[in-house]
Amino acid sequence: MFKLEPRQDASLWTSLRSILIALAITAVVSVLVMVVMSDKPAEAIWQLLSFPWQGRRMEVQFGLVAQQTAYLAIIAIGLSVGFKANVWNIGAEGQFAIGSVGAYLGYLILGSPEGAWALPLILLAGVIGGCLWALIPAALRVTSNTNELLTSLMLVYVASHLLTYLCIGPWKGDPKAGQAETFPMPESIRPETLINGTEFHTGLIILFVAFIVLAAILLFTLLGFRLRVAQHTPRAERFAGFSPDNTVWLSFLISGATAGLAGAVYLTAETGKLIQAENYLENFGFAAIVIAFLGRLHPIGILLAAFLISYVNVGASYVQASLGVDDSVADLIEVTALFAFLSTAMLDQYRVRWHTGSAKTSQAMS
């Protein structure tokens, strides 16, 4: 078996190498998964890799990928702030839902406007909604020392039931619709489609700009430095005069704002109306947690991870349509990638020593 030894020479190269090893493991296991699940594995793998250039127009396929990437990346970068500082907000799904609710509430408060000027205000209302929802677990953590991981998650269930309640009750729209939903927003205030027939719309640009701004703040400002200190040495954080309570507030504020923005953009651009939770929420908030860890909590890593996972997701549904390989392949690849990345993270800090011979094996295990 093997034994782990602390490594003295940890450097950029060692982390890069462990990422490459994780990618290699993921690739090998993905190929194995394809061989098991498909009759024509070679063709399935080829189609999964090259699907944008097959069949339909390339812009359409890349539009789908960009759409998923945008939502996943913006939520994940918000979550990464807290994860770095050991603040566990896993309720982004709920903040996403309340972001949508806030945006719709803003739309109603503005008196159901028709002009495009209302869009920024509606998005702002969504951001505020997400923030307020995220501040509940933060306040409970700071005042009552409550485990924020459990409370933020419980609030996901509360938020999704609240969404359904609003669609059934006070904001009930067309009663003839097959599902509980509100009245749709007018086309005139919704983000414009940039290329006809694709998912590229101005909402995605807003999300990507927000992502870049937040990434710049985290990488190049004192605030970002402060959070990095909190990650590596919590004690030094206190000595430097940064309060842990403020870190909790800040982490939840940022992650709530990003999830709320994503929810507001999703409402205005994709659906245009609130729908009961089961048909509205697409688990972006939970998938973003995986993306944050795949990206090693680094903005560039998060963007790459969000793109790759979205690419595999869209590709898997294409392969399902063309070759009948079911799209749980995408989930399996995602599982493999996450565990490969988490398990190789220790290679940054440890060296693996392999032992041969049975006597040594038992010693190494004990």
Partner: protein, 326 residues
């Protein structure tokens, strides 16, 4: 008390048992895991995978004949009497599936020293995603067509109900009165001292994690075999409630039992509001489904406001990374 009230209360208790048993099973498994100093947040994922595999096993045991060879595209399911052995086999499948997923967690956290919280969260999220996609591929989108036969009952209740109730004193006894339990607690309180005494910390923790996974798998199986049919996210957050229950019970099996039944009763009475207030509108009933989750948050706040209670009973090495001195 009128006979109607008594029947109503009996029905309420019956429903409470159905809701409390999976909570209790999962929480007891996780209790042992946390006592050994490991925080496994993957309970929800293990429950869902256990539920799916228990359901698939029961479904396959029940429907054996398929006439696809005779008429292409037509599958006639011939129902077979569902015996106790079949039931136990389905439970074994569920426990095994849960334990397998837990083994992945154990290998990553104990063998490769990955972050407990990250791997546990991953387990929960991916367990949910995987059970959804595998489940919809196995049963098709229309889940309602699948019917698993009645489970065999013992003394009017399901076998697992008695098992979960017996597990409470058993786990208390093992943890508090046996040598094994002492070793588990030692590993959880101070892994460095336990290591210095010659105990194989990762190995002991790994076995505890396997036990927790098997219990979570059983909890999932109970939900789909006894309570409701399989559907996406059938556990509705019960795995996370089980985690909250351990805080509620401050790592003591008997208090966990009480907590599970309090939750069960509350949940059951909330579901029975239909009968009590038939005039209530659908929207109010929807709003009321939030109640168990809001209640959990309130309980957590009340418990955590007393930090001494948490600090005195929480295993001291809970969730901390173990680096053996080499």
């Amino acid at each position: 008390m009128t006979p109607e009230t008594i029947t109503f209360l009996m029905k309420l208790l019956g429903a409470a048992i159905l809701l409390a048993t999976p909570l209790l099973l999962a929480a007891l498994g996780e209790l042992v895991v946390e006592k050994s100093g490991v925080l496994n947040l993957g309970v929800e994922g293990m429950m869902l995978i256990g539920a799916l595999f228990g359901y698939i096993a029961a479904y396959n045991l029940q429907t054996i004949n398929c006439l696809e060879e005779l008429i292409p595209g037509f599958c006639q399911k011939e129902e077979r009497f569902f015996t106790l052995t079949d039931y136990l086999m389905a439970l074994c499948a569920a426990a095994l599936a849960g334990a397998l997923l837990a083994a992945v967690f154990g290998f990553l956290t104990q063998g490769l020293r990955s972050n407990h919280v990250a791997v546990g969260l991953g387990l929960s999220i991916l367990g949910a995603g995987l059970s959804n996609s595998l489940g919809s591929n196995f049963f098709g989108v229309n889940y309602t067509s699948v019917q698993v036969a009645d489970h065999p009952a013992v003394f009017g209740q399901d076998l697992l109900v008695w098992f979960s109730l017996l597990a409470v004193p058993a786990i208390w006894y093992v943890l508090q009165r046996t040598r094994t339990g002492l070793v588990i607690r030692a590993v959880g309180e101070n892994h460095d001292s336990a290591y210095a005494l010659g105990y194989n910390v990762p190995k002991i923790r790994f076995y505890c994690i396997l036990f927790g996974g098997a219990m979570a798998g059983l909890a999932g199986a109970f939900i789909v075999l006894v309570h409701v049919d399989w559907k996406e996210g059938v556990t509705v957050g019960k795995g996370w409630l089980a985690l909250a229950l351990i805080l509620f019970g401050t790592w003591k099996p008997l208090r966990v039992l009480c907590g599970a039944y309090i939750f069960g009763l509350l949940w059951a009475s909330e579901l029975r509001f239909d009968n009590l207030f038939p005039s209530w509108q659908l929207e109010w009933k929807t709003a009321l489904t939030m109640a168990p989750y809001v209640f959990t948050i309130l309980v957590l706040v009340i418990i955590s406001r007393n930090p001494r209670m948490i600090r005195q009973s929480a295993p001291a090495s809970l969730g901390k990374l173990f680096n053996p001195p080499s």
